[in-house]
Amino acid sequence: MSDQFLDEQDEQTMAQLRELHARVDPVPAGLVERIEFALTVQALHAEVAELMDDELLATRAGPVQPGEVTRTESVTFQAASLSLMVSLGPGSDDDVVRVDGWVTRAEAQVDAVTSAGTRSATCDEHGRFVLHDLPRGRTCFVVRVGGTGVRPVITPTIEL
């Protein structure tokens, strides 16, 4: 039997083995996101900021509840070289949010990295920036300031 070509029954058995193991020992929730985050940090040679209030941490929080869509959240990230505060407000519809942010360094460049792509803003001379209509979901922020040899700062991923 062992030198027979694979037939439909073998295909079914393999599919059943896949279902079985996906059920018994599934890929841990959030593993793909943790890998993506580690790869981003590596690619940027970035310093990882600390989330000062972990309520929004995407690896712990579930999806946003329907009752929360208009709630405004503020969260602060702390790195050695700078701090970043972001406030979430309602966007033009329920699928997007407005982000008002403040960086303790003037004229920094802020990227919001979402599953739908990256959106950028430049801080004004007071360190303020606005990102309109960011898609809801998992997002992290990358902050760059001018100067050679200054590492970018990346925040943990949060759930907008």
Binding site: V24, D25, V27
Partner: protein, 195 residues
């Protein structure tokens, strides 16, 4: 053979991964995300099939991805990226488990006990899944490892994955092979499965 593989499986997981990796190397950096999503399940099961705990397996899979990016330009066969990652994940699990040196010889690894599902997990399985599990668990450990990993890939990938796991060519491949043949015989002789 009455039915071919599903359309998405025709070219194989490895070939699809190779195409994405080529695009990434050509400068489409955002494709790395697609590659991670495509291959993390098969890599997770590669790691867990070595019998290590979940935390060790997470570290091994993550380390393999970081190494891929670090060595991306030096990988001589980009279309074989799936096999490259499978090999690195397996090696990392053993390295982390033993705290030993990086160049563990996979051929010298001892047989280890298979991962046993706890009773609570088995209780969520359907009747046929329990039968399948009971026979799967009696297979030689190397066969369990091989079948578990290739179950998360496609038929065209079987031979390359077997090679990446350090398996003899005859254990799987274009033909049914020893491991799947054993499982099929055991299931075929079980009235709970056949009936």
């Amino acid at each position: 053979m009455t039915a071919g593989p599903a359309p998405t499986a025709r070219e194989g997981l490895g070939a699809r991964a190779g195409q994405v990796f080529l695009a990434y190397r050509a400068g489409e950096r955002e494709r790395l995300r697609d590659l991670v999503q495509l291959l993390t399940p098969v890599l997770w099961h590669t790691a867990r099939a070595q019998g290590a705990d979940a935390a060790t397996c997470e570290d091994a899979v993550q380390t393999a991805w970081l190494q891929l990016v670090e060595h991306a330009e030096r990988i001589s066969e980009p279309m074989a990226v799936l096999g490259w990652l499978v090999t690195v994940v397996k090696r990392e699990v053993w390295r982390l488990s033993r705290g030993a040196r990086r160049d563990v010889d996979l051929e010298e690894l001892p047989e280890r006990p298979a991962v046993a599902a706890d009773p609570e997990t088995v209780s969520i399985l359907g009747e046929r899944q329990r039968v399948l599990w009971s026979h799967f668990a009696t297979l030689p450990v190397r066969c369990q490892e091989l079948l578990r990993v290739i179950a998360f890939a496609d038929r065209p990938d079987y031979a390359a994955i077997a090679a990446s796991l350090g398996m003899p060519v005859g254990s799987i491949g274009p033909t049914r092979g020893r491991c799947l043949g054993k499982l099929r015989s055991a299931l075929g002789a079980d009235p709970r499965w056949v009936g």
